[in-house]
Amino acid sequence: MSKSERDPLFSGKNMKLLSTPLNDENPITVQVLGICSALAVTTMLEPAVVLAVAVVAVMGIANVIISLLRNTIPNRIRIIVQLVVIASLVILVDQVLKAFLYDVSRQLSVFVGLIITNCIIMGRLEAFALSNKPWPAFLDGLGNAAGYGWILIVVAFFREFLGSGNLWGYPVMETLGVYNFGYQDNGFMILPPMALITVGVIIWVQRTRNRKLIENQ
């Protein structure tokens, strides 16, 4: 531990904490966690981005808090402590959304509350924050939340674009005039199964490009 104390803030090791979850250790496509919300809130870009930002905020802060408390938390109630920290942060996010982004909060409805049950967050607290210093824990939280978030946003991009012809509510397809050539939106993209298939395609693309992820070579 004493060695890492002298680590510069943006040392290679610390940066790795931020970058591996984006690809090699992606929570959704590699660890296959947090799939539930990835299916539910990805019909449109805006709620997906808001949820991604909310998860980044909750996870970054939760990791720091748990890491700061790590030497005081009694081992026997550590899961409860983690849960209380996550739940309070989620309630804060929910309250802020209700005050300043009311429409989005109505769209996300229960999914903001369900961040509490997002296994990625609790997994990182338990596996990383409890045994690391605040700064690396913060980076780890940001990295994992971003790894979760970018998948969410990519899925939402394709679902909104192909499913309703819009991007961020703006009618892209209509502006391009493709409907005049007989193009039709694929309503199937809006349904949850297509989110799963989109995630599947992302995993496929990722594994063909990233040799490290291929098992049984």
């Binding site: 081992n75 109630i77 804060l92 309250q95 209700k98 005050a99 009311y102 409805s109 809006i190």
Partner: protein, 243 residues
């Protein structure tokens, strides 16, 4: 030391107290903003039920735009009881249908909003009921015959996306336009949400439910019957006065 029971108890208690203090402080600070949002959402829903305030997405100042439309089109509001008598000194906007629907019909305060534009007069009634996962609610706008539905707006707290949640989509809501609450003999029949094909054809008192959203549909069905049912005496009175 860290794993002694005393330490755990003190730790847990301190944690709970701190968290409670922080959360209640934030909730108190943000409450005015949230209340304004809720008020605007209600006004917007009422306006949308009579096809007003439709440019809200493009409005620069949302609150000002909604208030302006509200001032222009919502000309009156009052509260009645189940006998159709006007209740004085109650603000219709303050009445929460959620709470009223828990009371027996005789004790309910029944709000009505009156909308008016160049062509028509509308009577807008808030409705509230139970869906599958939580409340369903909305506004029903009647034309001035107290019978024909001009438009409806439905919403819900947590119905299943793609299934029950479809009740808040125009495809479902638009079906209600032109439907009638009373049959030829003047009996209140409400609007039924049905599954057509099982020997129940659609007619002017029935709409097609959402496939896969049967329980939500039944909730809407019961919501309309219960909430609007309490207004029947008032509707009859008004109609008799006019004829």
């Amino acid at each position: 030391m860290k794993d002694s029971n005393t330490y755990i108890f003190i730790y847990a208690s301190a944690m709970v107290i701190i968290v409670a203090a922080v959360l209640s402080a934030v909730a108190t600070i943000l409450k005015p903003y949230q209340d304004l949002n809720i008020e605007m959402a209600r006004k917007l829903d009422i306006l949308r039920s009579i096809e007003k305030a439709e440019m809200v997405a493009a409005a620069e100042n949302r609150v000002a735009y909604i208030d302006e439309e509200w001032e222009r089109y919502i000309v009156d509001s009052y509260v009645i009881n189940h006998l159709g008598e006007i209740q004085e000194n109650i603000d219709a906007f303050e009445v929460r249908v959620r709470e009223e629907n828990r009371k027996p019909v005789e004790e309910r305060n029944l709000p009505i909003f009156v909308g008016r534009d160049e062509e028509n007069e509308y009577f807008i009634i808030p409705v509230y009921g139970r869906g599958l996962w939580g409340p369903v609610f909305g506004y029903v706008a009647l034309e001035n015959d107290y019978n024909t539905i001009f438009g409806v707006i439905f919403d819900h707290e947590g119905e299943t996306p793609g299934l029950g949640a479809e009740i808040s989509m125009p495809a479902f809501e638009n079906q209600f336009k032109g439907k009638r609450l009373f049959d030829e003999d003047g009996e209140f029949v409400s609007i039924r949400v049905v599954k057509p094909g099982g020997g129940v054809p659609l007619n002017e008192h029935r709409v097609d439910g959402v496939s896969g959203g049967t329980i939500t549909g039944n909730g809407v069905d019961a919501m309309l019957r219960d909430t609007l049912g309490a207004y029947v005496e008032y509707f009859r009175k008004q109609k008799n006065q006019e004829s």
